[in-house]
């Protein structure tokens, strides 16, 4: 048998039909649904009088729009249009008989955090969601990617997706990370290296010692941002850590089924002599704690660097860099560690898991925030409960952070959690696009530890100085 990559293996196990030109119907094992990209898809089903083909494989949770303030049970905390979307999901979940975690359920949270937490995401699966950060689930060795609303409807109706195979890219992070360097720094550094279009047309497999050393949560952070590098999906081969994480979760297989699953999961790795269309190797020790200075996730620099000038770039990027600098209100040559911050946001599907909150709390312990506004939005109700149990919530509250309920919140600011014009934020989320966190808001992407450090000093700060 010819050698295969992990992607090849998962792909081959899911082709339900292949046309002569290579267009395939890829069978989908898990379909995650949220309130913003699904209403038109369910409407389409209703109009065509079609059922959901596999309701038991379809899981819905509202997250993008929901308020994260403690009083959110009060309907008045939501705008009319947000309420309409959440109510539409309530109704669609009920009418079509799919699994559902309503806002009132403690298991509610960001769809990409809830899936793994509940054991819906398992190695070797195909997972899709009408959301680009579906790539997160690749941390389990699942082929996971974002789809548009027409495709959501297609999966609801047929449990398949029309796909052509992508190319294989290997991103190897060798050796050990230095202290203070995290999964977020890895994933941002990779995008800094490849650019936001560098992964277009590829599925990336992350490997190497530094990736193996990461916890499952760190691996989710890495895969989460594969899409920011343009890749269709990011993958990490499952190993003992993966199996350990999955075991005992509510929807993971049990007993003999688990053993049978495990036997297959253990075959899910890229063969030694597998062929790669592109290979990138980065030394773990070369990665520093990084921040973004511009309005594209590829605008990454070590915290020790200075704000670049448009002249440092070439081609179309010259104009883009100038536009970014103007938008971000930055002067070339300024040390990044002198940039003053108004707001700190810790949360999102990139960094809203328990380990992220632990990393931030570690830095914040016994300190006070020096920014105007600081908030922690746990990725799920269960993450929130665990953080309370571990005493992390108290650390955040004593430091001056708002301790919120779960949701997407200021990651995309569809709910009332928004930056105002010119407000500058150190954020653990994944996108620093213009207006992403609020009209004319300014976003610097960082790791949870770096976000905590910025909260304490009021400036972008090298977390290593506070360790």
């Amino acid at each position: 048998m010819s050698p295969k990559t992990l992607y090849d293996k998962i792909w081959d196990a899911h082709v339900a039909h292949e046309a002569d030109d290579g267009t395939c119907l890829l069978y989908i094992d898990r379909h995650l649904v949220h309130e913003v990209t699904s209403p038109q898809a369910f409407e389409g089903l209703r109009m065509a009088n079609r059922p959901v083909r596999a309701p038991d494989k379809t899981i819905a949770v509202p997250d993008h729009n929901v308020p994260t303030t403690l009083d959110r049970a009060n309907a008045a905390t939501m705008t009319e249009d947000s309420r309409v979307q959440v109510e539409a999901l309530d109704k669609n979940a009920k009418d079509f008989g799919i699994h559902y975690y309503p806002v009132s359920d403690v298991r509610q949270g960001i769809v990409h955090i809830v899936g793994p937490e509940q054991g819906w995401t398992l190695p070797g699966m195909t997972v899709v969601c009408g959301d680009s950060h579906t790539a997160t689930h690749g941390a389990f060795g699942a082929l996971a990617h974002g789809i548009g609303t027409s495709e959501v409807e297609h999966v609801l109706a047929t449990q398949t997706l029309i796909q052509k195979k992508s190319k294989n890219m290997k991103v190897e992070i060798t050796g050990k990370l230095r202290p203070g360097v995290t999964a977020k720094d890895i994933t941002l550094s990779v995008i800094g290296e490849t650019g936001t279009a560098g992964g277009t047309g590829y599925v990336i497999e992350y490997c190497g010692e530094a990736i193996r050393d990461l916890s499952m949560e760190g691996r989710m952070t890495v895969c989460n941002m594969a899409i920011e590098g343009g890749a269709r999906a990011g993958l990490i081969a499952p190993d003992e850590k993966t199996f350990e994480y999955v075991k005992g979760r509510p929807h993971a297989p049990k007993g003999a089924q688990f053993e049978a699953a495990l036997a297959w999961w253990k075959t899910l790795y890229s063969d030694d002599d597998a062929q790669w269309d592109k290979v990138i190797t980065i030394k773990g020790e070369d990665i520093a704690p990084v921040v973004t200075w511009g309005t594209s996730p590829e605008d990454v620099l070590p915290i020790t660097a200075t704000v670049p000038s448009a002249d440092d770039f070439e081609g179309g990027k010259v104009g883009a860099a100038q536009r970014s600098l103007d938008y971000m209100g930055l002067t070339p040559g300024t040390p990044l560690s002198e940039i003053e911050i108004d707001t700190v946001f810790i949360g999102s599907c990139t960094n809203g898991r328990i380990e992220d909150l632990r990393a931030a709390a570690e830095i914040l312990k016994g300190k006070k925030v020096a920014v105007k506004r600081a908030m922690v939005v746990p990725g799920s109700g269960l993450v929130r409960a665990q953080a309370e149990e571990e005493g992390l919530a108290d650390i955040f509250k004593e430091a001056g952070f708002e301790w919120r309920l779960a949701g997407c919140s200021m990651c995309l600011a569809m709910n009332p959690d928004q930056l105002s014009e010119g407000e500058r934020c150190a954020s653990t989320s994944n996108r620093n696009f213009e207006g992403r966190q609020g009209y004319k808001g300014r976003t610097h992407l960082v790791s949870p530890g770096m976000a905590a450090a910025a909260a304490i000093t009021g400036k972008l700060t090298d977390v290593r100085d506070l360790m």
Binding site: A13, V15, A16, H17, A19, D21, T23, L25, Y27, D29, V36, T37, P39, Q40, E43, R50, N65, D81, S82, Q85, A88, L122, M125, G130, D131, S132, G146, I147, G148, T149, S150, E151, E153, H154, A157, T158, T160, I162, T196, A197, T200, G230, A252, P253, F258, A260, A261, S296, G316, G319, A320, R323, A413, M414, R431, F433, E434, G435, R436, Y439
Partner: protein
């Protein structure tokens, strides 16, 4: 879905790289449960000030380009989120074709599901087309999907690549779900086999 065969129309130049989906349709307009009506808010934050007045510099606010049907843009168009609201807004505005050196994967696929043709061409070709678009309303570009060519107002022509299946669906205005339903027996067979092989799924 609307068919796409040939299109001759005004092309608007947007020589900006990494035009992301948040620029194309900001999130405040995603709170809809319909597909229609989003054209009014296409490029909203670039197109209007906070009071809702047009920003005169923005290309689609210039008289020459108000009825543009083609967009010529910089590298990596449509990066960011999976929101299909982006192609819905583009289509609703009246744009049926976007030309760039490269597109983000999900956006690219979403276009075809909505009767929009995204065309990727080498940088030097996009540069020529950008110049042609800058000539304004009298310069009309022609896109011929059947023959896979884009022709400038001066008659300079470039060939582009497009997946044969996607081209067929776009030219015939075919609905994906209907096409897949024709293969439902393959899905049934696969599902039964997979349930045997991986019963835990």
């Amino acid at each position: 879905m609307d068919k796409f065969e040939t299109l001759t129309g005004i092309a608007a130049p947007m020589p900006l790289v990494n035009i992301d989906t948040d620029m194309i349709i900001p999130k405040q307009f995603l709170k809809t449960i319909k597909r229609s009506g989003l054209g009014a808010n296409l490029f909203d934050e670039m197109r209007f000030d906070r009071s809702g007045n047009e920003i005169p510099d923005f290309v689609l606010n210039q008289d020459a380009y108000r009825s543009a049907e083609i967009l010529v843009a910089g590298d990596n168009f449509g990066c960011g989120s999976s929101r299909e609201h982006a192609p819905w807004a583009i289509k609703d505005f009246g744009i049926r074709c976007v030309i760039s050196t490269s597109f983000a994967d999900i956006f690219y696929n979403n276009c075809f599901k909505n009767g929009i043709l995204p065309i990727a061409l080498p940088a030097d070709a996009v540069e020529v087309l950008m110049k042609d678009a800058e000539k304004g309303a009298n310069a009309r570009m022609t896109v011929d999907l059947e023959n896979q060519t884009v022709t400038t107002s001066d008659g300079e022509s470039f060939s582009f690549e497009v997946d044969a299946f996607k081209k067929h669906c776009l030219m015939e205005g075919l609905d994906d779900i209907g096409l897949t339903m024709e293969k439902v027996s393959s899905i049934d067979t696969y599902e039964a086999q997979a349930a045997q092989a991986r019963p835990w799924v």
